[in-house]
Structures are given as structure tokens and as C-alpha cells.
């Protein structure tokens, strides 16, 4: 939340920005997908931020489903950074995975490497792009645009290294609901999900 960003602004301590998405609250409105388009120049047919509908599974009328908003997982051990031959992909000091557009020459290794399908080739610029957690807004003490406009108030952004931040507190308070996508890959994604209350995964 904005208060957390303000509180952390003057501090020297190393930050690790991340996101918590509460699936109990996501209503599949896709406002995040378009708010991302509103903020970034993204070509048609490409989304940095999108929402899967998982289900309905089961047999009518005993069915269940949930929405799964997706974007770059901002991994702490990102494969995309490891495979980048030009060091265009890197993690900044706040833990956000970024692409230096001047260094990227569009080889697309990273697109193949990313286990979350979060990277896209920009056909006009001939480079790879993805979610950058709206660093230009975060630098001004604002939240990423998808968080600001989320109608279900399902998305939360903040410093996971700060134990008092809202995101840290949410993770502490909801340990039974926390999960990360493809955790077994050991890439340490910094997007945490809180399971919908009626849904059991696995």
C-alpha cells in the first residue's frame, strides 16, 4: 500500500518488492489487464498482465473454479536473467526483474526460459518486454497501475523485506492460504497468492 512505500522511501535497507494477490477477492474483471495497457505501450494481442479462469471443474452442479491473475513473477532466482546473453535482463536493487531495452537484441532465449510465460516479443521494436511492476510509478511513491485500479481489492504491492508492510503482514496472517506458482522450480517467485477459501489446490 502507498503508506508502506512512503514509509520505506527514505530507508537505506535493501528492499524486495513483491505482490500478494488474494484469489478470494479476484472477480475476473480483467481490469488489471487493461490498466496495464493503459500504463504501458503494449502492442495489440500482447498482455503483460492477464487472468486465467481455472475451471469450472467437477460435474454440474458440484463444480468449483477460481480466477488466477498472472504477470511476471519477479523471481529472485530468475532463469530469464541467467540465460540472457547480453545481460539485458537483470534484477534491480529493489528486487524487480527488468530488461534494458538498449542491450536486448531480441534473441528471445528468455521467452523460452521463463516458466511463467511472462515475456513477450515486441514485433515493432524487435525486443523482449514484460511487466516491470510499474517502477516509474513506484519510484514516485505510487503503486503499480493494476493494483491501484483493482476492483475486488485483490492485489497488494509492497516491500517483502519490511516485516511491517501490508504484504508481509498478509503473508504472516494467511499462512494456510499462501501459495506460489511452480514453487518446485526453485526460482523464488515474488508474487504470492492467497488461495480462494472454497478452493483446494491439488
Amino acid at each position: 500500500m502507498v503508506a508502506d512505500l512512503e514509509r520505506g522511501a527514505g530507508k537505506v535497507a535493501k528492499k524486495k518488492y513483491g505482490m500478494v494477490i488474494d484469489l478470494e477477492k479476484c472477480t475476473g474483471c480483467r481490469g488489471c489487464s487493461v490498466s496495464c495497457k493503459n500504463e504501458h505501450e503494449i502492442p495489440p494481442g500482447v498482455n503483460f498482465c492477464w487472468v486465467y479462469q481455472e475451471g469450472p471443474v467437477g460435474t454440474y452442479p458440484k463444480v468449483s473454479m477460481y480466477y488466477l491473475p498472472r504477470a511476471c513473477m519477479q523471481c529472485s532466482e530468475p532463469i530469464c536473467v541467467k540465460v540472457c546473453p547480453t545481460k539485458a535482463s537483470y534484477i534491480n536493487e529493489d528486487g524487480i526483474v527488468l530488461i534494458d531495452e538498449d542491450l536486448c537484441f531480441g534473441c528471445q532465449y528468455c521467452i523460452w526460459a521463463c516458466p511463467y510465460e511472462a515475456r513477450f516479443f515486441h514485433p515493432g521494436k524487435k525486443i523482449v518486454q514484460k511487466c516491470n511492476s510499474c517502477i516509474h510509478l513506484v519510484a514516485m511513491g505510487k503503486e503499480p497501475n493494476c493494483v491501484v485500479n483493482c476492483q475486488g481489492k485483490a492485489r497488494f504491492f509492497g516491500d517483502l523485506n519490511d516485516p511491517e508492510s501490508q504484504v508481509s503482514r498478509m503473508l504472516d496472517q494467511n499462512t494456510d492460504r499462501v501459495f506460489r506458482v511452480k514453487e518446485e522450480l526453485k526460482v523464488d517467485p515474488q508474487v504470492y497468492y492467497l488461495l480462494a477459501k472454497k478452493v483446494k489446490i491439488k
Binding site: S33, V34, S35, K37, P44, Y52, G55, G152, K198
Partner: protein, 790 residues
């Protein structure tokens, strides 16, 4: 902006250091009117729209449609200039004309028709009015006949009118006090997608505080069904049976609010069993009031005027009474009649009718009742677009009443604007002979029935219709039987359409006018704004020669009926609308938002109910007066046949579209690129239909093509299809759907309608579905889409 101009800005417009500004205004892409901040750069270009955290309802969230504002504002296919038809009707040959010529032509034609054929030869209409309902009606009334040719019969009017005759106000929509509710019932409504931020944020907040949630919808892919405490997948068209069953459970288990029922409803009024008419005071006593009703005095065991001081009436009972003229009558209280009506609708019986299991019906009814007062029901078109909508909505209204949820915190509350919107202060008095001249034979619809209107255009009977002015309406896609609509519009002498795009309806026009986008025009955000009004002000001046719809209506009004339209500017007209709130447009603009109704509940304790009895009408005197059933009931209306074995519920919502708008906007189209009909996998397998297959959906009235989407979310005998597909999206190279090829309304017969409101069967339609062998979609021959992109 020059420095001087910048100083004059209202407080709601904030200059930025780079020479641009941030404008507080409201989105228009749904009724929700969410507060937004529009970012304008120094070159007067809108570059971003985001939620306004000061919005008292949404707290600064907005949906995909609002986010796409700049794509709509700057869309290359937007109408930018007035144009007149130069080829044949529908030939798509146009010539640019000036606004002056357009207005002169329109005004002189209308006045000439009036002179020759009378004011009834001209009609005004719209699609959904969001801030314009009052002005569009004023146009008709000021001209001399208010046809109001629009799809109100399938949108809002049944809900609104039925609750008006029961309560005297309309609390079913934004009147559902989500934010403060202990139990939210979404009944045939999907506000989370269609009125996004308004519903989403307030429902989320209530659920955070522990509110229970019940979703009544045939489709599990409703955004809240999977979160709900109970999901009731009702068979389309049986909502009335479900509501009757809830009343059965709630009354039998004594979970109803007896105090409210006795004091604030007409349940105690005596009804003559034979005629089913109410006993009035003049019938039992010489000199008794003709308009006062009669109750049974418990203590003395006699019938007395309901308003007699100190009388404690009997709620339940059958009595023999002697009238003043000596005749004997058997009478029952309205409550006793209600009990008789609900008696058959046990949850077990309702389960047979609704296909929802009895235990779920029972548990959901208990959950609603035990959280009352403070539980709300939000109903919308899912209940409304049925042949039996009058009784279904009446049943739900009675349910709200007997649980005491009316105008209480967290229940269904009174909001001032709904009574004001169609009231005479804004729309003006009815023209002489309005009721005699209105077309069609609908009992409670105050305007012309669309079916009779189209027929009058085609046949000239009962009188000729010569001109039709549509502002923001795509009637070919918003109402049943589009082939009939098209025939009528082609036959019509003079059609004017004002819109963002050259819609299929606009293509048939003689003059088209360019509407300004919401970022380019000033409105008052009034309806569906809960307890607030907002200055829905422009962020930039209109581009090209686009004009505000309100400016057009006002300027046309000044030319055709100057006495009715004294306002020289939109601002003067807004000042007039705002008078009761003691604020001017300038002041509203400065503040951006004002609260129009204080958070005071149970206002009926002071003002009563604006109904014939002054009470909530469990027994409806209005319905009785027009020969309809005055008591809650359920009527079975549609049954599948051998030829049409499935039930189609049309009009499923998308979060990214609004009715027939926005398929041309790439940011929105890519979220739902194709018209998909939802079908249960078991049924699909039996029919050899796979995901993405092109299929025909066929009713006894017509057929359309869509792509199959297999989902476990619908009953094996239910199909769900969207409406509004016509527009292509060039940016994504995705097709349009001309000639109604995917216009679901083709399936709906206009000749079968509800007798009170003319509502057609859009939501429980017997159909067949089968694989198509050839695509009828131009430029889109491939038949298999595979798995749809998320």
C-alpha cells in the same frame, strides 16, 4: 492553458507542472459511473485514465472499459461530423454536412410531420440512458407525444415499475446496500461485471466484514458464484417459483418480520374472496372513505377502516362480513391469501420446478432470513427478461418486505433519484392523450410498445410514424426480432441516429450525428450513483465536430418546443436539474461529488409508501386495477419441445463489453474475441460438438451462428449465449458479424410478450443447437477455434 485560465479552474481540475492537468470526472461506460482521474497532457491529449481514490463508493477502482477510454476517444472509426445519406438507405454513402444544416433539417422535418400527421408521427428513443433518460423523455413530451421508443421493456422498467407499485420506490439495483449488508443476494444480476467498480468494491468490503453471499444464476461462470455461500443454479424462467419457495420456508419457520408485516404492509387488508377486490371503507359504512381499506379488528371482531385510530388488526383469517348495503361477503386477509399461494411451493416442489436441490433452497432462504433485517437482494435482467417477469419481481419484492429488509442499513434502500428521473419536474407533464395514443395494449407500460411501434411504421396503422430520433441506441442489437426492426427502419421516412460509431442502426439513418465521448462532454452523473451526484465533466473539449448528446437534445428542444427548453447552455439546464439540491453546476463541478441523500434509514416511518394504500402492497391494488393477478404467484411459461429441447438464456455478461459496444476496441476485444455459446460437455459430446466448433443455435423464430464453449458451469439442458455482436476489430483483424449472423435477438419472437410490460422471452428460450458445416461470418471461414485464449 494560459496562466489566467488555469487560475479559473474548478477545484476538481488540477494543473500539473508539465502544463497538463488531471481532471476529476466519472466514467460513462456502464451505469456505475465510477470516479476517475483523466490525465491530459499539455497538447490537450488524454493519455491515461485511472480510478479516483476520492470516490466515496469505489475508493478508486475502475474496470477495463474505463481503462480503455483513450482507445475509444481516439478510435479511427469514430463519427466526427454530421453526415447525411446520399445513397439508398443502408447503402453506406454519406456526405458531410454542418451542424447548422443538420439541426435545420431535423427541426423543420419534425415540425412539418407534426403539422401534417400530428405529434404522434415522431418518436424519440435511446439505448440505455445514463444521465439522459429525463431529457430524452422531455423531448417527446414537449413535442406532444412520448413514445420513448427504447428497450426499457427488457431493461429496468419491469424491475422499476414492479417495485414502484409494491413499494412506491425502486430499491432493487443500486438500492441494494451492499457495503453495509450482512447477506448479499445476487439474483439474476451480475453487477460485478456489468457495473464493475460500484458492485465489486462494495461487495468486497462487505464480505471482508463477514457478509454472506448467495448467487442465483443458471451459470457458474458468474464471477461470484464460486465464492458464494450458496449458488442456486435456477432453471431460467423459474425465479418466481424460487421466491415463492423462500417465502414458504421463511413464513413456515417463523423467520419473517411480523412487526413490519403488520404495521407497514397491507397484509391485514380484507379482500373479497369472490371478486378478489379489496374491501373499502365506504363498502362497510355509509360515508366511509372510498379510498380507505378495511381490516379485521382483533379485539372486537369486526371490520373497520384500516386508518381507524387504535385498531389492532388481525393478520390472518377468513371472515363473513355484512356490507353497508346489506350484502354478505366472505373475505380473507391479504396475508391469508398469500399463505394459500405459497402453500404448494415447498422446497421439494420448487426443486422440481427450478432444478435447484431442495436443501440448498431451504438453507439459502434461512441464511437470507436469519441475517435480516440487513440483508439485500439485487435483481436485474436475469429475472427481468422473461414473459413472467411481473410475478417474479413481485415475489422478490414481497420477500424483501416480509423479512423487513426495506430501507434498513444493509437492506434495500430508498434513493431519491429514481423517483425523480421519470418524474414530471424533469420530464414535464404528460401531453394530452398520451395514454390513448401510446401504441400497443400493454397494461402497465407508460410508453409505446416497440412491437406496435415497428408495426405502425410498416403499416401506417393505427397512425403513421414518419420520423425517429435515436440518441445513443443501437436498436438492431438491443431488442428482440431485429429483422422486424430492420424492416421498419428501412421503411421509415426519416431516421436520425446520434452515436460514437456508425452502428448497423446508424447505417440505416438519413442523418447521423457524432456523439462526444464522456471525456469530451459535461453530464451530471445522477442515476445509479447511490447516495451521490457527481460532476461528470469533460476532460478536453470535443474533438472534430462531436457534441454532447445532452447538448443536441437541448438544442433540438429549443427549436421544436422553445417554451419547454428555455436553457441557452447545458450549464443552465444542469442548474435547473440541481435546484432541489441547492447547488449549481459550477459548485458541483468545484466539489466534483455531493451527497444527495443522507444516511438515514426507515424513511417510510415519516413519509409512508407512495402506493394506493400508503403501505407496502403484498396485495397490489395497481395490478388488480389493470386486471392482473394482485397476489404473489408463479407462472410456468416456457417448455422445451422435441424440436427445441434446450433452454437458452441470452445476454450473458462480459466484464469488458457493455451491451453491443466495444467489440471494435482492441484492448477489450482481445479479452473475449469471439461470440461463444456455453454448453455442458456432456451435451456437447452427445451432439458431437467440440470446444471452439462453429454451431447453429435455432429457435422457432430464427437461427444464429456462434462458437461453442464447453463448460461444467451450466446444466446439460441449458445454453448461455451473449448479445450485442456486430462490430469488427481491425486492429486485431477480428471479424464483424453483419446481417444479424450472430445477433442472438434473432431467436426471440416479438409477438410473445408479458402483458404488463411487453417484456419478451430473452432468457428462457427453447432452442436447438447443432454443428455448422459452413461459416456465415464474412472473412472468417475457419470453423475451429481450439481453446480460447484467456
Amino acid at each position: 492553458m494560459s496562466e489566467i485560465k488555469r487560475k479559473d479552474l474548478p477545484a476538481s481540475i488540477i494543473p500539473t507542472s508539465d502544463g497538463g492537468r488531471i481532471v476529476k470526472t466519472n466514467c460513462f461506460e456502464s451505469h456505475s459511473k465510477c470516479g476517475v482521474l483523466v490525465y491530459v497532457d499539455k497538447n490537450e491529449r488524454v493519455y491515461k485514465v485511472t480510478g479516483n481514490p476520492e470516490d466515496p463508493i469505489t475508493g478508486g477502482a475502475i474496470c477495463s472499459k474505463a481503462q480503455a477510454a483513450k482507445k475509444i476517444l481516439y478510435h479511427p472509426e469514430r463519427l466526427n461530423y454530421p453526415m447525411k445519406r446520399v445513397g439508398e438507405k443502408g447503402e453506406d454513402k454519406w456526405q458531410r454536412i454542418s451542424w447548422e444544416e443538420a439541426m435545420d433539417t431535423i427541426a423543420s422535418k419534425l415540425l412539418a410531420y407534426k403539422e401534417q400527421y400530428g405529434p404522434e408521427s415522431v418518436a424519440f428513443g435511446q439505448g440505455t440512458g445514463r444521465g439522459t433518460n429525463q431529457w430524452n423523455q422531455r423531448l417527446g413530451k414537449s413535442f406532444g407525444m412520448n413514445h420513448w421508443a427504447c428497450p426499457a421493456h427488457v431493461c429496468l422498467l419491469p424491475d422499476m415499475a414492479t417495485s414502484m407499485i409494491t413499494f412506491g420506490f425502486f430499491p432493487l439495483w443500486d438500492g441494494a446496500d451492499f457495503r453495509n449488508s450482512r447477506c448479499i443476494v445476487l439474483w439474476g444480476s451480475n453487477g460485478n461485471w456489468s457495473e464493475g467498480a460500484y458492485s465489486n468494491t462494495s461487495i468486497a468490503e462487505a464480505r471482508e466484514k463477514g457478509a454472506k453471499l448467495i448467487v442465483i444464476d443458471p451459470h457458474f461462470e458468474h464471477p461470484m458464484a464460486h465464492k458464494a455461500d450458496y449458488w442456486l443454479p435456477v432453471r431460467p424462467g423459474t425465479d418466481g417459483a424460487l421466491a415463492m419457495s423462500w417465502m414458504n420456508v421463511i413464513i413456515k419457520e417463523n423467520l419473517y418480520n411480523r412487526l413490519f408485516v403488520e404495521r407497514w404492509t397491507n397484509a391485514t387488508h380484507l379482500i373479497d374472496v369472490e371478486s378478489m377486490a379489496p374491501i373499502t371503507e365506504n363498502m362497510i359504512r355509509e360515508g366511509g372513505a372510498e379510498r380507505d381499506f378495511v381490516v379485521w379488528e382483533r379485539e372486537k371482531g369486526r371490520p373497520v377502516g384500516a386508518k381507524t385510530a387504535g385498531v389492532v388488526p388481525q393478520l390472518e383469517g377468513i371472515f363473513e362480513i355484512t356490507l353497508a348495503d346489506g350484502n354478505r361477503r366472505t373475505v380473507k386477509t391479504a396475508w391469508t391469501l398469500l399463505l394459500e399461494r405459497i402453500e404448494p411451493y415447498t422446497p421439494e416442489k420448487a426443486a422440481e420446478l427450478t432444478w435447484v436441490d431442495a436443501e440448498t433452497i431451504r438453507n439459502a432462504a434461512r441464511l437470507y432470513a436469519t441475517n435480516s433485517p440487513g440483508a439485500c437482494i439485487n435483481t436485474m435482467q436475469g429475472v427481468e427478461e422473461h414473459l413472467n417477469c411481473t410475478s417474479a419481481i413481485r415475489d422478490i419484492c414481497c420477500l424483501i418486505a416480509i423479512t423487513g429488509n426495506l430501507d434498513v442499513r444493509g437492506g434495500n434502500i430508498w434513493l431519491p433519484f429514481w423517483n425523480e428521473m421519470l418524474g414530471t419536474r424533469l420530464t414535464g407533464p404528460d401531453p394530452p392523450k398520451q395514454m390513448e395514443k401510446k401504441l400497443g395494449n400493454l397494461k402497465l407500460y407508460p410508453f409505446s410498445q416497440l412491437l406496435a411501434f415497428w408495426n405502425a411504421i410498416i403499416t401506417g396503422k393505427p397512425y403513421p410514424i414518419k420520423a425517429y430520433i435515436i440518441v445513443a441506441g443501437n436498436l438492431l442489437f438491443s431488442t428482440e426480432d431485429p429483422t422486424l426492426v430492420e424492416e421498419a427502419l428501412r421503411k421509415l421516412e426519416f431516421l436520425v441516429v446520434m452515436d460514437y460509431f456508425l452502428t448497423p442502426t446508424a447505417q440505416l439513418a438519413d442523418i447521423v450525428l457524432p456523439s462526444a465521448h464522456w471525456t469530451e462532454r459535461d453530464y451530471i452523473a445522477d442515476e445509479f450513483c447511490g447516495r451521490y451526484f457527481f460532476a461528470q465533466q469533460r476532460a478536453i473539449d470535443p474533438l472534430y465536430e462531436r457534441k454532447s448528446d445532452i447538448t443536441f437534445m437541448r438544442e433540438l428542444g429549443r427549436r421544436i418546443a422553445p417554451d419547454w427548453w428555455p436553457w441557452k447552455t447545458d450549464e443552465e439546464m444542469f442548474d435547473f436539474q440541481l435546484e432541489p439540491y441547492r447547488i449549481s453546476w459550477k459548485e458541483l463541478q468545484d466539489k466534483w461529488a455531493i451527497q444527495t441523500s443522507p444516511e438515514v434509514y426507515r424513511k417510510y416511518e415519516k413519509q409512508g409508501f407512495e402506493t394506493p394504500s400508503g403501505l407496502v402492497e403484498i396485495y397490489s391494488n395497481v395490478l388488480k386495477s389493470v386486471g392482473s393477478d394482485p397476489l404473489p404467484s408463479y407462472e410456468e411459461v416456457t417448455a422445451p419441445t422435441a424440436e427445441c429441447p434446450f433452454i437458452l438464456t441470452s445476454g450473458r455478461r462480459y466484464p469488458n463489453y457493455y451491451h453491443s459496444a466495444h467489440r471494435g476496441i482492441s484492448w477489450l476485444r482481445e479479452l473475449a474475441p469471439h461470440p461463444m455459446v456455453d454448453i455442458n460437455p456432456k451435451t456437447a459430446q452427445e451432439l458431437g460438438i467440440k470446444e471452439g466448433d462453429l454451431v447453429w443455435i435455432e429457435s422457432d423464430h430464427g437461427k444464429v451462428q456462434m462458437f461453442a464453449h464447453l463448460t461444467n458451469g451450466v446444466h446439460p439442458r441449458v445454453l448461455s449465449a451473449p448479445h450485442g455482436w456486430w462490430q469488427a476489430c481491425e486492429e486485431l483483424n477480428l471479424p464483424g458479424y453483419p446481417k444479424h449472423i450472430s445477433n442472438v435477438n434473432v431467436l426471440v419472437d416479438s409477438a410473445k410478450y408479458n402483458p404488463e410490460f411487453g417484456t419478451t422471452n430473452m432468457r428462457a428460450l427453447p432452442v436447438n443447437i447443432y454443428k455448422a458445416t459452413k461459416s456465415e461470418i464474412p472473412g472468417f471461414p475457419h470453423l475451429n477455434l481450439g481453446r480460447a485464449k484467456p
